[in-house]
Amino acid sequence: MTVRGLWIISHENGGNLSIRFSRRFSTVEHRAKSLAGSSYVAVPEESTFLQLLLTELGLSDSGKNYVALRDDCLYRPRSPALELHVDGPAKGILWPVLTVSQGPLILACLPLVDVPPDPRPPLASLLSVSQGLTLLAGLQTFLLGSGSKPDSEGLGSRLAMVPSVLLQVCPLGTPLDVPLPGTPATPTAPTSVGTQKQPAWKTGLHRGRAVVNVGLIETVRSMQYGNRSRQDLWDVYGTVTCKCEVEGVLPNVTVTLSLPPNGSPLQDILVHPCVTSLDSSILTASSVDNYDGSAFSGPYKFPFSPPLEPFRLCSYTSEVPVPPILGSYQLKEEENQLRVSVTLKLHESIKNSFEFCNAHLPFFNRDQMGVVDMKVSSGQLDVSKEKNLLVWVLGQKFPKSREVTMEGKINFSGPTPGPSDPLCTKLTAYVKLHFKVPDMTLSGCYVDQHSVQVYSSAKPRIVTSRELQSKEYYIWNSTGTAPVSSGQMMM
């Protein structure tokens, strides 16, 4: 339940990877020594540790084609924990080193093995592993921000705050909490002298008007092949994000998700730890199960006591009968040019009012585009010749027929080769859709403003919203071979 050491590695001003911060927990090391006995392996010094870690991550010697230690084909069933092979007088295998990496940052920690070390215990028997992962993920969010684009600008200044952050969340190697994003919380004013204990995860108390904000976002993914032998795939998952400004040490709030009649049940529900209790029926539906018509289909009640900061109350997946946009994509190779034909059809149940809707058509492993002779029935076409990319901007609305087409020819006669991709060779190509539809969900799931209950003195303002967005929405060329993306289809 503790970690022996913690390392933060990043690129130094665009140069080599280096250790920007490290912390060893000597008392934990002391325990590690007596727990492991003769099989104890000491933590090597920084430079050695870095080199061994980069080798294991496949990041060392990037100029060399093959390095035996790095590229050995022997599969070691060890992820997400790495083994570092320490050489020299303190020879041995340092295990389990956990790493997370994102953008310019690699974080690593070494959890304490608190069960007999021989034979090697499974990761699942070490609580310190999941705690280490949580600590690393928390630090990563703290250092890079939680947004989709990591903010590496402020990285330096936030790295400087790591020591004081660790004093709060992990002073002696036992992770107590994850750092709050942003500046470390200053000790808040004395809060309550009542008998109610303040949750440890609540940094202070809200004073003022009560506001509860509940946002529901559904994301749809799809793989469409336009091929009879291959079933098209799509899935939907939703997340409910809350920001609650409510007075009290431990206020009670209940948010209820509802489905329309005949809506398919929400599956794989995961809840935030501030949810106080759950009904067993909420958890029963699972995407890996055969659909059971009798399954519970709401309403889904989530009673909780909110933390101060915004948080993800719950997430779910849903099985919807049709994809929102059905597409077909056909390419035909003709003497030095490519004949392109795309059709997109908006399903009738979908609100025809987009925030945006774009289709991207990249072409890989070809020379740069020369002449592009394309016609679209709606929207407009942007051609980016240096990226070999067509962007079809469909705007806010499909036409009344709810169907749009694009036809034409492209000549790849440019002077230099365009971008390459190992997957998309020959006629393996795709259209990728990016769209967002405000105020709707595919599953039909919604949060009724009146169903949000807050048990506090003042009447709160309640705001709810919902939207549908796309992610990894691919339509593959039906005349080429398309990669398999899921095993669901084969059974």
Binding site: S192, A200, P273, M491
Partner: protein, 943 residues
């Protein structure tokens, strides 16, 4: 100064060993402590100064007593630090905890550690700031954390304070209650563990423990408990799965107190951060596992909340609960539900890759209620994981490498279990198709990471499904095609062949692959062959030639066709690297079991290399192989090359090119350097120069003094006359016990001069030096240009019993002034009269001449007896006058090549006078210091 400290501290933590090699731990510690006491230093610097003590206490405090002293120092710093510097005080507590725990002060209950414990408990109880600003709260939190760490490292340290801690936990309403709860739970867990180790402990003891009214009897037990707690078992997690045993405390069903404590802890666990909640639940699981009187059902009300959580550590602790209590807490429906949940989480979009990989690992080590195998750490599939369920986890090209391989591994296990029929067959077909799509990505020239992933996936596939020939044979075919198009992947292929051979010893797939590769290489048209391709082909063929089962004719045909001058320009190009790669193939062929049938073509290839290859070294090497091949019998050939093959066989692929050259011979041909001197030369004890002149058969020398002088001078017409001095040395081992060098052979000593006063020395050979035998005598012949004292550098080359040749340096040899003295070189048949007349002649000459000659007087206080002893000891061989003639001793030192020093030694009233005459005034300072030395020695011994 502050910036300097920041730099130094960061240098220390980057490389403590390097930093401390530039100073000593004591000095560094003293500096740290001084600076910590310095009022001028800012607190931010002081916090920095504490980090070496926190992170490397045992390096900075090199003994327990230093640790104790340091802790006392730090505590006085703490006592003097104003309460408002909370951050610094927090760090001081952390540093104290680290120092005291790591230097074993806590374990030995040292004074400082007991004092520190009191300080911590005081801080933990001090809630005086609660109504003011709460500014001391971080300090209280850290104090609790320090107490928890002390208890974690020295279990049962706080058992006696359980009631106090419980009270603090219950009273606290600020966020700090978490720190108290964690501390309390750990102390409770350790105390109960300690009780389980006492014989006869039961319900009352438990009650007493919780109530805090510890009886005297129990305290005695406590002491014995502390002794046994040195065992690290108490530090270990008690949740070990089906094979682990948990020590138990038999209380009967009556443990209301404990139950109520546990319920409160569980109910309040919701108020803790998820990480602390997980720790708390883990500790409580251990407690309930140790006390069978408390039913596991106590956890039941919390299960749904935990099973629905998105927090990895909370779900993990739930799995550990299941591991500990199996069907006494989880029904089979629960089990099916949890497994499904894990599958869902293993591919959940909102989770990070490491979390998903962790959940996959949890599936492979799923704590089943009724496990079939005894979970010995190996991966096993839970019974409930059907192909249907697992199909959610099939690998796809959209996965990252780690996920792809983890899924590939898991699905392989699933389909292996299902067999080749039905769903297993379908699944296997899918896996193979997936492998093929990876292969086609490699074929299309993807990045390095994907290449490595493909080979790992291929290895996994073979590992599980090598026996399914329709796939493994097809894979061989596909791989050969891939190799021809991408020869740069050769090292990956060789690695795959090696690993499949090692791990799948029953399968011949690896040999099959190599055979197929040999075929495609040797059958491909030579016309388009680049030198890069050729080099990789040769590496591959060298690996193929290691396989005794593979027929090598086609390899030889290939070799011969690439080096035949008419068909290829390789020979005329004379590329050294390629030449060596060809030789490497040949070398493997030389030890191939089918060598008899390869003899002629192999000899032809070597002959071609000898005659036509444009690089001399390759020619020489080929000639050696050719000679070995044509003159040695097979057994001998194998013997000669065997050692090299063992060392260089399968491993040498990993070595650099230069190691391949000379292969086995290199180590024996290389001279290695010893780490330190192995032996040295010491002066041999002087052999008795028996009687010298007197014992010889005496004839009269020339009568006339002038004639004597003339005869004496004539001898020097031969320039080599009396020009050398010979010194006797013993060659002895230096007393270090390196048994490797006990027996040394063929020692060749080499000397080099440090000045220009002597002629260069020749090397000296010593046949052997054995530690158990008497040391060897070495005669060193020096030929002075000027007879001054000197030093010689010495080194040696020798052979150790294992046949390795070594170079070593000996300690310097110092040649003293008196070692250059020789007796007057006169013909041996001259009597004392002759020598005396030469003495007188020389003396007179020196007195009358100026030039290089000089006279001097040296006086000292010596008793007569002392003088006699001195003459006897140091001058006897050089004495010209009769030894019985004690009024005046005449002494003559001859110093090659031409110098003389003459002494007339007589006792005068006040002192002994050494009248000195020399024909080389430059020697005066040396003789002066020599006389000073011997006379003072004489004074010492006699006074």
């Amino acid at each position: 100064m502050a910036a300097n400290w920041a730099e130094r501290i960061s240098a220390f933590s980057r490389r403590p060993s390097g930093f401390l090699s530039g100073t000593t731990a004591e000095a560094f510690l003293a500096e740290l402590l001084r600076e910590l006491r310095d009022d001028r230093a800012t607190y931010s610097v002081k916090i920095l100064l504490l980090s070496p003590l926190c992170e490397h206490p045992t390096l900075v405090c090199c003994s327990d007593s230093v640790g104790e002293e340091t802790a006392l120092e730090l505590m006085s710093v703490f006592a003097q630090c104003p309460p408002k510097s909370v951050q610094f005080r927090c760090h001081l507590l952390l540093a104290l905890t680290s120092v005291l725990i790591c230097t074993s002060c806590v374990k030995s209950h040292s004074r400082a550690s007991l004092d520190f414990l009191d300080v911590l408990l005081q801080i933990a109880q001090d809630t005086s700031d609660i109504h003011t600003d709460g500014s001391q709260r971080p300090l209280r939190a850290i104090a609790c954390e320090c107490l928890r760490e002390l208890e974690a490292c020295c279990p049962s340290l706080l058992s006696q304070r359980l009631e106090l801690l419980g009270g603090l936990w219950q009273q606290e309403t600020s966020r700090l209650h978490q720190a108290y709860a964690e501390l309390y739970t750990l102390v409770l867990r350790n105390a109960i563990y300690q009780l389980t180790q006492e014989t006869g402990a039961g319900a009352e003891h438990l009650k007493a423990l919780l109530g805090g009214n510890t009886s005297a009897a129990w305290e005695a037990d406590q002491e014995s408990g502390l002794a046994s707690s040195k065992d690290s078992a108490i530090l270990s997690s008690l949740i070990l799965g089906p094979m682990g045993t948990v020590p138990t405390l038999h209380t009967g069903p009556d443990c209301k107190e404990l139950r109520s404590v546990l319920s409160t802890l569980l109910d309040e666990s919701y108020l803790l951060t998820p990480l602390c909640q997980a720790t708390l639940l883990h500790r409580l699981t251990e407690v309930v596992a140790m006390v069978p009187g408390v039913p596991p059902a106590i956890f039941r009300t919390h299960l749904l909340r935990l099973l629905g959580t998105s927090e990895v550590s909370l779900l993990h602790v739930t799995l550990l609960l299941k591991c500990a209590f199996t069907d006494s807490l989880f029904s089979s429906e629960d089990e099916a539900f949890i497994l499904k949940r894990l599958v869902v989480l293993s591919q959940h979009l909102l989770l990070s890759t490491p979390e998903k990989l962790f959940y996959m690992d949890c599936i492979l080590h799923f704590p089943e209620n009724r496990p079939i195998s005894c979970g010995d750490g190996d991966e096993t599939l839970p019974v409930l994981l059907t192909p249907q369920l697992a199909s959610a986890l099939v690998p796809t090209v959209f996965n990252d490498s780690a996920t792809l391989l983890a899924r590939f591994n898991m699905l392989s296990l699933v389909y292996l279990e299902e067999g080749e029929e039905g769903q297993g067959g379908q699944g296997l077909a899918y896996l193979y198709e997936h492998l093929n799509s990876l292969l086609s990505m490699v074929e299309n020239g993807c990045g390095r990471e994907l290449v490595v992933t493909f080979f790992r996936a291929a290895f996994l596939f073979l590992y599980y499904f090598c026996h399914v020939e329709r796939y493994s044979n097809d894979l061989t075919k596909q791989l050969c095609q891939l190799y021809l198009n991408h020869t740069k992947l050769a090292p990956h292929f060789i690695n795959l062949a090696d690993q499949t051979q090692d791990r799948l010893s029953e399968s011949s797939w690896s040999v099959g692959l190599l055979k197929a590769l040999q075929r495609v290489i040797t059958e491909a048209p030579l016309t388009q062959l680049t030198s890069h391709d050729l080099s990789r082909h040769l590496k591959m063929l060298a690996r193929v030639a290691e396989e005794g089962e593979i027929i090598q004719q086609s390899t030889l045909t290939f070799l011969s066709s690439i080096i035949t001058p008419s068909s290829s320009s390789l020979c005329t190009g004379g590329d050294w690297c390629l030449g060596n790669e060809i030789l490497r193939v040949c070398r493997h062929l030389l030890v191939h079991p089918s060598l008899d049938s390869l003899l002629t073509p192999l000899a032809d290839v070597l002959q071609l290399l000898v005659c036509h290859y444009a690089d001399m070294e390759i020619q020489d090497h080929a000639r050696l192989y050719y000679t070995l091949l044509t003159t040695l019998s097979r057994e001998k050939l194998a013997g000669v090359l065997a050692q090299g093959m063992e060392e260089g066989g399968r491993q040498d692929k990993k070595q650099s090119l230069s190691c391949l050259i000379g292969e086995g011979l290199t180590s024996t041909l290389t001279i290695q350097q010893t780490e330190r001197a192995v032996f040295r030369l010491i002066e041999a004890p002087p052999e008795p120069r028996a009687g010298d002149i007197n014992s010889n058969e005496v004839q009269k020398g020339p009568e006339e003094a002038s004639a004597s002088m003339e005869a004496y001078r004539d001898q020097f017409s031969d320039s080599s006359f009396a020009s050398e001095i010979t010194l006797q040395y013993q060659l002895v081992h230096i007393n270090s016990h390196d048994s490797h060098f006990d027996q040394l052979f063929s020692i060749r000593l080499h000397f080099s001069l440090t000045d220009h006063h002597y002629e260069e020395l020749g090397d000296i050979s010593v046949p052997c030096l054995l530690r158990e035998r008497p040391s060897a005598i070495v005669q060193l012949t020096l030929k002075p240009r000027k007879p001054y004292p000197t030093s010689l550098h010495a080194s040696a080359i020798f052979t150790s019993p294992d046949g390795h040749t070594w170079h070593t340096t000996l300690p310097d040899i110092h040649v003293a002034f008196q070692q250059t003295f020789l007796p007057l070189p006169v013909p041996s048949n001259w009597g004392p009269g002759g020598t005396l007349s030469v003495f007188e002649g020389l003396w007179d000459e020196i007195c009358s001449e100026s030039g290089d000659s000089a006279m001097s007087l040296f006086c000292c206080q010596l008793k007569e007896a002392a003088l006699n002893t001195l003459v006897e000891k140091h001058f006897l061989p050089f004495l010209i006058s009769d030894a019985s003639h004690k009024e005046e001793f005449k002494v003559l030192f001859f110093l090659p090549p031409r110098s003389h020093i003459l002494l007339k030694v007589s006792s005068e009233e006040d002192a002994v006078h050494f009248n000195i005459a020399t024909d080389n005034w430059e020697l005066l300072s040396h003789i002066n210091s020599y006389l000073l030395k011997i006379t003072s020695l004489q004074e010492d011994t006699l006074s």
